[in-house]
Each structure stands twice: as structure tokens, then as C-alpha cells.
Symmetry: C2
Subunit: 364 residues, 2 copies
Amino acid sequence: MASIFPSRRVRRTPFSSGVEAAGVEGYTVYNHMLLPTVFESLQADCVHLKQHVQVWDVACERQVSIKGPDALRLMKLISPRDMDRMADDQCYYVPTVDHRGGMLNDPVAVKLAADHYWLSLADGDLLQFALGIAIARGFDVEIEEPDVSPLAVQGPKADDLMARVFGDAVRDIRFFRYKRLAFQGVELVVARSGWSKQGGFEIYVEGSELGMPLWNALFAAGEDLNVRAGCPNNIERVESGLLSYGNDMTRENTPYECGLGKFCNSPEDYIGKAALAEQAKNGPARQIRALVIGGDIPPCQDAWPLLADGRRVGQVGSAIHSPEFGVNVAIGMVDRSHWAPGSTMEVETPDGMRPVTVREGFWR
Amino acid sequence: MASIFPSRRVRRTPFSSGVEAAGVEGYTVYNHMLLPTVFESLQADCVHLKQHVQVWDVACERQVSIKGPDALRLMKLISPRDMDRMADDQCYYVPTVDHRGGMLNDPVAVKLAADHYWLSLADGDLLQFALGIAIARGFDVEIEEPDVSPLAVQGPKADDLMARVFGDAVRDIRFFRYKRLAFQGVELVVARSGWSKQGGFEIYVEGSELGMPLWNALFAAGEDLNVRAGCPNNIERVESGLLSYGNDMTRENTPYECGLGKFCNSPEDYIGKAALAEQAKNGPARQIRALVIGGDIPPCQDAWPLLADGRRVGQVGSAIHSPEFGVNVAIGMVDRSHWAPGSTMEVETPDGMRPVTVREGFWR
């Protein structure tokens, strides 16, 4: 496979030197920034993640900082979720949509103050959407990408490792809540969150100069915990049903199609609300499902069509072999006619047709 | 160097199978899509481009289609350039800016009809900016990314190759103008443009299914012209002073700083106009310059600080050795105090300090 050409535009992160020293083997580009994808191998990385603890360079989860007197007003326009219910230390998963209800991103919103939010982005310049609205409406708000680079600590030993560096206070952080905890005298937002179901934290490292000192402190503290450099693992995340914007859903899809209808509870007149009203009432015509694909499959680089009796009934956006479950695990968008658990159909891969069965749910 | 991890999110193009068969050695990711960067070697690709003709997969120059009764109204808001002067067959280079005059992208606008424009993007989701403004203002306009993938034909023999496939009409296309020419019965926009100074065309391939037939037709027609698969060449484009958004300028920069002040001629009250008024009158405090860097230099992956007497006087965003000119060619943003031709300073590279001299202009 061809390698990534070096340029300033594909940005390195505050942790890149650590990632390279740890022997990164694969990258992707996410929000104009390098995101590691493989260290030893997808399989070995996955096994280690489920047993020990890993430190992930997820600096590419760039923040959109929305700050000023109209910050909440803007958030209420772009969030289908009820912002008034958000606690002061809360992180909110927010599917953001356009005027037709098509998804533009699915960031995690972090409430820093009544007039200050971060949106921790999936891959896409949602900053430009927020900026366009704020400018057109004349909102009194600053919209910037701050020097904040998330570092994730994931795996069953994450609490132990984090407690050694940030103190036992980390153990009391609830899911999708955060505390401000000091590292080298600087208070950082530390949230219980992350793109695996193995448990762990995301540290919002504010100030690039803190990146490698924190990286090194975590590795020094965790030697006996078998800490390793890792990254979002494509096997674990498909097993866990963690959706990826751009892979499993795009602007072609609504939150209801993605099974995210429960996050569309805002009483405000947010952008897209009217367009989503019909799906809110009657449900979508297609929806995300956990799928098992039989046979051998190649890497999933395109949307693979799902077919039943020669008719298209959906598509697969992510698929990979799971050594733990002994099957090819997949995430698909499936028409209502074929989304019931146990439904069978076929998927057209570049290597030919493969049998598909709909599962009751994801693997964890 | 680590390789790119396969996923649907990093999209393949209608030409990817041709690119792979031609032996692509390096990729970058641009607008969530693969962009080839190297075939034989940067040096060999550059020599060939200057002598023969190349076919480039630049599908990643994604289009923002703006269509509807309010299309021109929206264009006038986001374009510093006078849209009323645009001819029906014209392509306009348009630096787009935010309310402070900071650059958001530098697309080429293509006028398809009085109520229909494409913006052929640099790397960044300007679609989201246009969409945010249109939604907030309630404009009657459709904003979509259509199935349009540019294919460039570049090099001194480009006219000859294109004439064999599209007919001699291509020879009459003026710079940054286009004609609609048929391929396999489908009319395509063919413009005299492209990201080199070796001459050539960009074909806006509308309909992915036409991609490989057109690719193959160009190679079949050009065998005796020594046609090869190529891509934007980082040596040639720096020699030519072709700016790269994300490398040479970002939202931190204004069009005036980028030497693009001549494109800010709109009489309308476009977004950012007030903020740019001072620079329009007095000029910017720093500006893009062609630079020569002495000694050996590593790949330029970060902004390298420019220093004079220990004081920061700018930065370098692109730098590479030019075999043709026998020096390291570079593009920098330099403070007024040091931007005069012949000025000398130093640049801090990861391999140490190197001497720098400001040039009168780029190499071609």
C-alpha cells in the first residue's frame, strides 16, 4: 500500500514523536491530521486493548470552541439534543444535522461554562457550519479551533494508570462527565469517555507543549500495567457498534437512521427539526444494524451493496474479521423490510457475493 | 513511513483503479479522498511533467454545487471577487474568507448558469460554511456535493492529447475558461486550468461511471506522446509559486497576505470586506514570498520559523529541493521588515538552522 506524503497540511500532533517511537505501522488522516490506526497488528492491538491499557493519540478529534454571550443560542440551533438539561461537568454526544436532517458530524459537546462549549469532532469541518450560521445571524460568539489535543487512555487498567498520574479523583468521574485535574500545574479536562467499550478516559490536552510530557508520564507510570501505544481499533469498535461518521453514516443519513433518535429531544426549534418530525413519529425507513458476513472478506473501502432477491436493501459501511467472535463483524444501513434479527441477504464485496445475517445487536 | 489504512471514509475515486495499476507510490488525503502524490519519484515525475503529458486523478477537488434562485446572492456573500464580471464560460479563482478576513478555502468557482455555480475546493469542507449561511439566511438554494470528479491533463503536450479525445475545439479554450465537450455522448465541462504551470486542462467528469473509460481513452490516445499517470508535483508547484491551502496559508491569513489582493474587488458587502479594508488600503504586515533555503533540508511537515537576529519574522510552509534550479525552493510568509528581495534570515528546520534569501519572484 502507498504511504502518506509528508506536508504541513496533513498535520502532525503533539504526540507524533511518541507514536513514531512506538512503531506506528498505519495512519489515516482525520480532520487534516494524522491518526494512528495500527501498531503491531489490528489483531494483536485488539487483544492487548481488551486485557491491559493503551494510550491513544486522538489529537485529530479537533475542538470547535464556541465562546461568548450567544454560545448557548448557537448550540441550541445546531444541537438536536436538549442543551438545557446538560450538567456543568457533562459531555453530550450530539448528532448535528442540516435543514433536511442529514447528519453533518457527530461530535461530543463539552460544557466548559455557561457561555463556552467545545465540540470534539468526528472527521469534518463542522467549524465552518457553526461559523456560517453565527456570521449570518450576527451572533456575538468566537468560533475557533483551540490548541487542544485529546489523548485517550483506554482498556480495563485505565483507571489504575490514570490514578497514578492524576490521582484517585479520576476513579469518581462518571461516564461522559469530566473533572479538571492538574498535570504539571495545568488543569486539564479529563472525561470518562473514548472510542472503545473497554473503559477509559479522554484527556483534553490544552497546550501542545504538554503533549509529550504527559505521554511520557503515562508510559513511565504504567510499565507494570503493560501500557502500550494504541489507537482506535477497527475490530473492537465494530464489535462494539461504535459508529464512524464517513464510514457508517454521511449527510445522506438522519440520526433516526443511525439509531440516534434518543438524542433528538430538544424542545427548541433547532435546524433540521421540522425535517425530522416524520421520522420522529413513524421511525426511519432504514436503520443501522449489526451484521454477520460469511466467508472471507477484503478490507472495506467502499459502501458494499446489500441485496435480497436481486434488489438493493441497504449497504455495509464497515466490516472486518473478529478473532474473538470468530465471524466477520459488520455495520450496515438496512431497509425496514430486511432489518429484523435473523433476516438474511447478500453483500456484494469486491471479491464477490457473501451471505449476510442481521444480528439482534452488537457484540458488546 | 506508515501506510494509509483502508476505509470508506477515506474515499477512493472513479480513477483509483487506474492510479493503482500505474503504480502509485504515495498518497495524501484531501477532502476525505485519496490524492496521489508520487508515482516513479518526485524528481522523475517532475521531469516527465515538464517534457510530456500527464493524466492526474484530482477527483479530491470536490465540488460544492450551489443552485437555485439565490445562488448568485450566496456567491456574492462569500466571494471577495466581483461576481457580476464573471463570463458565462469562466472559472474564477476565489479566496473565501470569514468575517475577519481569514481564509477558509481558495476554490475555483465555475459558472454553469446564472443560477448554478460549482466551487472546486482546496482541502476543507467549505460546503459547510456555505450551507450554514444559506440555512441561517433562509436562502432558496440547493447545496450539495455532486458526483463530479476532476481529471487533469497537464504538460506541454496536453493540447495534443486532449484534441485527440475531445477534438480540436479544446485548442480554442482560453485560460480559466471552459467549453462543454462530449465524451461517450455526455457533455463535460473542460477548462484550461490545473495545478501546474506546464499548461493543460481540467475535465470535470460528471458521473463516476465515466471515470475509467475516460482515463483509458486518454492513455490509449497518448501512447506516442509518452503519456503517464501523474499528480500535482510538489517540486513543480513550489517552483511555480502555486499556493496550497493548509500548507502556505490557513485561516490565520488574509488574501492580501497571500498576494491575492487583486481578487478582492467585489463592490458588494461580502463577508469579511470590512475586516479587509485596512489591508486593502495599506497592505498587509506580512506576505507570501519565494525563498531559497541553503544546505540540506528534510521534508517540510510543520511550519518552520523564520528568524532574524533571534526574532521571529515569519515562517516557511512548503520547501523542497529543485533539481532544475539547483536550490531548495520554498514558500514563506514573511514580515514586511524582511520581505524585500535579497533580504537574508535563517529558518529553523528539524535538522537545524539554514540560511534563507528572499527572491524577487517564483521560478516561473
